[in-house]
Structures are given as structure tokens and as C-alpha cells.
Amino acid sequence: MMLPDRVLFDFFAAIAAASALAMVTRRNILHAAILLLATLLATGGIFLQLQAEYAFAAQLLLFAGGVVLLFVLVAMLVAPESLLQDASFNWKNYSISALALVAAIEIIAFVWARHNGAIWPALAALPSSNTGAVGDALFRDDLLAFEFTSVPLLATIIGVVMLAKRRTR
């Protein structure tokens, strides 16, 4: 027994959007971290709906597991008092107007595109289990790209070790 696709999509999208909005407006960082977790999990549901099972698992393990845990720990470690009670919004940042402009253009483009009929092809059918295909692509077709992701990872390791060394020397 499956729920209709549309219901699932609306459900997950509503949760994700609502918790994302709450995330950027909450003053308490810990609440924000938990709301980020909710956003990520709801987005994972949408990945699952798009049959991207491997991306869903990676999202769960890397983002929801690793990154949010880091956020929670840092929020607890870094001077909680000052972090919890700072002024939360910086309204004088005028780059926001550029963002608003971009957003307006995008939304107008969206409405215009929909008004002029669908410009996107419909979703194609993927094989119901495409994890093997992902593995093939990862280690055969796009191996170079896969190897290149190790460069930023190495840079991160070096950077973090340098930061840690500086503190304890």
C-alpha cells in the first residue's frame, strides 16, 4: 500500500520548508540545529521518492549524522551564553537586496515558464534498484571526479590539524 506521490511530496516539502524557515529565524542555535536535522530528513524523503536511494543514505550518514552532530557540539562548546544571546539579524546587510532581485527574477521566470506551457520533459523511469548503477558510475565512468573529491578533503584535514596544533602548542 503506497501513498500517492503527490501527498508524499507535499508532506515532505512542507516539513522541509517550514523547518528551514524556522531554522533561520530561531535565536537558539541548538533549536536551529535540530530544525536543520528535520529539514535534512524531510529532504531525504524526497530523495527516496526520486529513487535516489544512495543519495538518501549518504544524506542520512553524512549530513544528518555527521554535520548536524558537529553543529550541535560546536553550539554547545562555543561560549553558549554569547551565542544564544546575540542580536540575531543583521538588517543593514544590503546584499540582501541583490538576493531579493535574483529571487524575484527567478520566480517571474518560473511563472512565465509555466504560463507558456511545460518546458521540462517529464520524469523518466529509473530501474527500481539503481544502487549498482551508481556504483558503476562512481568507480568506472566518473572515477576522475571521484578521485578529485579527495583534494578538498585533504585540504580540510590539513587545515583542521593546523588549527588544532596552533591551539595546543
Partner: protein
């Protein structure tokens, strides 16, 4: 079957929320979270397009994005911890990150930052009357 536009619209909404948060908030940790949100929005688009063409390459690159985002967040949070160890503000508008990072090593030689073990011991002492 849901048309691709719905996924794109959802991605747009998340991206705008993330961008707004990154530009408007002062708190470095929340700014990082917002950047995270923007990356997730991009990931949604990639995966929707990948499904649209019936190929898995979009999924692949979404995984690369996740790996890089996780690494970058770890580094950025490390910098946040390093910055806020001494200056008692975490407001990016007030503190100068570059100076703070450079200054940490000099100040630490005068007065070493307590290691995590010492901190734990102090807390334990405070707990037990």
C-alpha cells in the same frame, strides 16, 4: 507523477531561505547552517534532473557535494571554535576573524588554553560539592 518543476520550485524555496539566512544572520554557526541548506537545495535540483533524464550522474554529483560540504563544514566549525576561544563574541560583524586566528597562537603562549581534560575536571569539581 510529479513534474520536475515542483522539485525545482522546492529547491528554489530552500535555496532562498538558506541565502537569506546566510546574508541576514550574524551568528556564524547559523550562517554555516544556512550555507548547508543552500547546498541541499542544489542537491535536490541535481537529483531531480538526474531522474528527469533517467541517468544516475546527478545522484553521483550530489554525493560529491555532500562530501565536500561535510568537509567544508568541519573546517569552518574548526575556525569558529578557534575564533571564539578568546574574543568573547561570536558576532561576525564585530570580530575580525583573520586577526583572531593569527592572534590565538601569540596569546596562547602566554596563557595556554585549557585542554579538554582540564575543562572536564573543572566541571566535575563544580558538580560535586
Amino acid at each position: 507523477m510529479i513534474p520536475v518543476e515542483h522539485y525545482l520550485a522546492f529547491g528554489l524555496v530552500l535555496f532562498l531561505i538558506g541565502a537569506g539566512g546566510a546574508l541576514l544572520r550574524r551568528n556564524p554557526v547559523v550562517i554555516l547552517m544556512s550555507i548547508e541548506l543552500m547546498m541541499v537545495a542544489v542537491t535536490i535540483n541535481l537529483i531531480a534532473f538526474s531522474r528527469m533524464w533517467g541517468a544516475v550522474n546527478g545522484q553521483l554529483f550530489s554525493i560529491f557535494i555532500m562530501a565536500d560540504a561535510a568537509a567544508q563544514t568541519a573546517l569552518a566549525l574548526g575556525i569558529v571554535v578557534a575564533c571564539s576561544a578568546r574574543p568573547r563574541t561570536a558576532d561576525v560583524a564585530k570580530s575580525e576573524p583573520a586577526e583572531a586566528i593569527q592572534g590565538v597562537s601569540d596569546r596562547d603562549q602566554e596563557q595556554p588554553v585549557a585542554s579538554i581534560d582540564e575543562e572536564a575536571d573543572r566541571y566535575a569539581e563544580r558538580l560535586q560539592p
